[in-house]
C-alpha cells in the first residue's frame, strides 16, 4: 500500500470535511434567522400534537402567530386554560379565561330511533354516502350516518360510533375541531362543556317528514323558542338553535320539547 495514496485520500476527505464544516458554519452565521426566544418557549409549553385545531399549521405556526400578536394566548383549544396561562406568562399578559368547549353531534337518531330506507353494505365512509341513493341508507338526510369519518379524524380518540351514531367522549375531547371539518353533514359543532341543553337534531325537513324518518327529530314546533325566558332559542330552517351566550340553563326548552330532544347526549 502506497503511503502517499493513503495521505492523498485522507487529505481529500479530511479537507472536504473541514471545508464543508467551515462553509456551513460561516453561512450558518450569515443566514441566521432571528427567532424570538419567546417563540421557542411557547413552543415548549404547547401540547405538540400538531393537530391544527388552532387554525395554524402545527404548534410552531401558532407559537409564531402568538409572538407576532396575531393570535391570542388562549388560541390553543387542546391545552385549554393551563397552557393559556403558561403562554400568558411567557408573553407577559394575563390569560383570559376561555370557556372549555367540546364537540357535540347534533343527532340522536341511533339504530332504534332513526329509520333506514334500505340495508347498505359497502364502503364505510361518510363522504362516500353522497354517491349512494338518497345520501345513504338512513331515512333522515341530515342525521349522523355512523360510518365514522369523525372517528378517523379525531387525534385524541374522543369520538366513537355508538349504536349507529357518533358520540363524543366529553372528557377526552379537546375541541380541536377536526371532526367538525370531517363531517360531511356538518353535524358536529363546538359547544360549551358545561352547557346542559343542546339540540340533538339537525334536520331541516318539515315536521311531518321528520316524524316519518326518525322518532327523535326536531319538528320545528317552536315551543322551545316561545318558552325560553332569555330568548336564547331560535328555530330556523325547521330546527332549533341555542345561543349559548344567552342560555342560562334554566331548562324551560327541554321541558316543553314534545320530542324531548333538547338535552345532553348520554
Amino acid at each position: 500500500m502506497d503511503i502517499v495514496a493513503i495521505a492523498i485520500a485522507a487529505a481529500v476527505v479530511g479537507g472536504t470535511g473541514i471545508f464543508l464544516g467551515f462553509f456551513l458554519g460561516i453561512f450558518g452565521e450569515k443566514f441566521k434567522v432571528e427567532v424570538d426566544e419567546r417563540e421557542e418557549a411557547i413552543l415548549g409549553v404547547l401540547p405538540g400534537n400538531n393537530c391544527g385545531g388552532c387554525g395554524y399549521a402545527g404548534c410552531s405556526g401558532l407559537a409564531a402567530a402568538i409572538v407576532k400578536g396575531e393570535a391570542p394566548v388562549n388560541q390553543c383549544p387542546v391545552g385549554g386554560a393551563p397552557v393559556a396561562s403558561l403562554v400568558g406568562e411567557i408573553m407577559g399578559v394575563a390569560a383570559e379565561e376561555g370557556t372549555r368547549k367540546v364537540a357535540f353531534v347534533k343527532c340522536a337518531g341511533d339504530c332504534e330511533k332513526g329509520k333506514q330506507d334500505y340495508k347498505y353494505s359497502g364502503v364505510e365512509d361518510c363522504a362516500a354516502m353522497a354517491f349512494i341513493p338518497n345520501g345513504g341508507a338512513k331515512s333522515c338526510n341530515y342525521g349522523c350516518l355512523g360510518y365514522g369519518s369523525c372517528v378517523k379524524a379525531c387525534p385524541f380518540d374522543a369520538i366513537h360510533i355508538v349504536n349507529g351514531i357518533a358520540l363524543v367522549d366529553e372528557e377526552a375531547c379537546k375541541a380541536c375541531g377536526k371532526c367538525v371539518a370531517a363531517c360531511p353533514k356538518n353535524l358536529i359543532e363546538l359547544v360549551p362543556y358545561d352547557s346542559k341543553h343542546r339540540v340533538q337534531c339537525n334536520s331541516k325537513d318539515k315536521g311531518k317528514d321528520v316524524m316519518a324518518a326518525c322518532s327523535v327529530g326536531c319538528i320545528g314546533c317552536r315551543l322551545c323558542e316561545k318558552n325560553c325566558p332569555q330568548n336564547a332559542v331560535t328555530v330556523t330552517d325547521n330546527v332549533a338553535h341555542i345561543d349559548y351566550e344567552k342560555c342560562t340553563g334554566c331548562g324551560a326548552c327541554a321541558e316543553k320539547c314534545p320530542k324531548k330532544i333538547i338535552s345532553k347526549a348520554v
Binding site: V12, V13, L20, L24, K32, V33
Partner: protein, 191 residues
C-alpha cells in the same frame, strides 16, 4: 441535443428511479399519503437532485479526478450532499421564506434520500459530463415526482376501499408499488 433527450426520457420514465431502480423508496412510502405533501416532497427532490448532480459533477471533475482518487466518490458525495441540503435549507430560510415554508419540512428528509446519492454515482459510472449529469439529475427527479404523486393519488383512493385486514397499511402500499413497477416495465422497450 438528441442524446440529452434520450437521457431525459430514459431516466424519467424508462429507468424510473423508484420503480425500476428501487432508489428513494423511503420517502416514496413515507410521504405519499396525500397528493399535496407528495407533490411538495417531489418538488423538493427535483430541486435538490438537480443541484446535487451539478455540484457533485464539479467535484468529481475538478477535485477527485486530478487527485486520482475517484474511489472516494461515495464518501465525498455523501458529505457534499448532506452539507448542500443543509446549506440550501439555511439559504431558503433567510432569503426565500415562502419557498422555505413549502419545502421546509421535506428538505432535511432529503438528506437521507438515497436517490440523490444514486443519481450522483450514476452520473459518474455512465461517464456523463456536467450538462448531461444535470439533465440526468433533473429527469430522474422528475421521474421520482411522477412516481410519488401517482402513488399518493392511488393511496388516497385506497383509503375509501375495503382492504382486507391483513393487507392494511404498508402491505397494500407495497403491493401497489410493485404493480406500478410492473406497469412501468411496459416502457422498457422504448429506449
Amino acid at each position: 441535443m438528441k442524446e440529452l433527450l434520450i437521457i431525459a426520457i430514459g431516466s424519467a420514465i424508462v429507468n424510473n428511479v423508484v420503480l425500476s431502480q428501487f432508489l428513494g423508496i423511503c420517502p416514496f412510502l413515507g410521504v405519499s399519503k396525500k397528493t399535496e405533501t407528495a407533490a411538495g416532497m417531489g418538488g423538493a427532490v427535483i430541486f435538490v437532485i438537480t443541484l446535487a448532480s451539478f455540484v457533485t459533477g464539479l467535484i468529481y471533475k475538478f477535485i477527485l479526478t486530478p487527485c486520482d482518487v475517484q474511489y472516494l466518490q461515495t464518501i465525498v458525495f455523501i458529505l457534499v450532499i448532506a452539507s448542500l441540503v443543509q446549506f440550501v435549507e439555511m439559504f431558503l430560510r433567510k432569503n426565500m421564506p415562502p419557498l422555505y415554508e413549502s419545502l421546509g419540512v421535506y428538505l432535511p428528509l432529503i438528506t437521507t434520500n438515497c436517490a440523490v446519492l444514486g443519481v450522483a454515482l450514476t452520473n459518474v459510472t455512465k461517464g456523463y459530463g456536467l450538462l448531461e449529469g444535470v439533465v440526468n439529475g433533473l429527469a430522474t427527479s422528475v421521474g421520482f415526482f411522477l412516481a410519488i404523486v401517482i402513488m399518493a393519488g392511488i393511496r388516497e383512493k385506497i383509503e375509501y376501499n375495503d382492504v382486507p385486514k391483513r393487507f392494511q397499511g404498508t402491505a397494500i402500499v407495497l403491493i401497489t408499488a410493485s404493480l406500478m413497477s410492473i406497469a412501468f416495465m411496459g416502457f422498457s422497450g422504448m429506449i
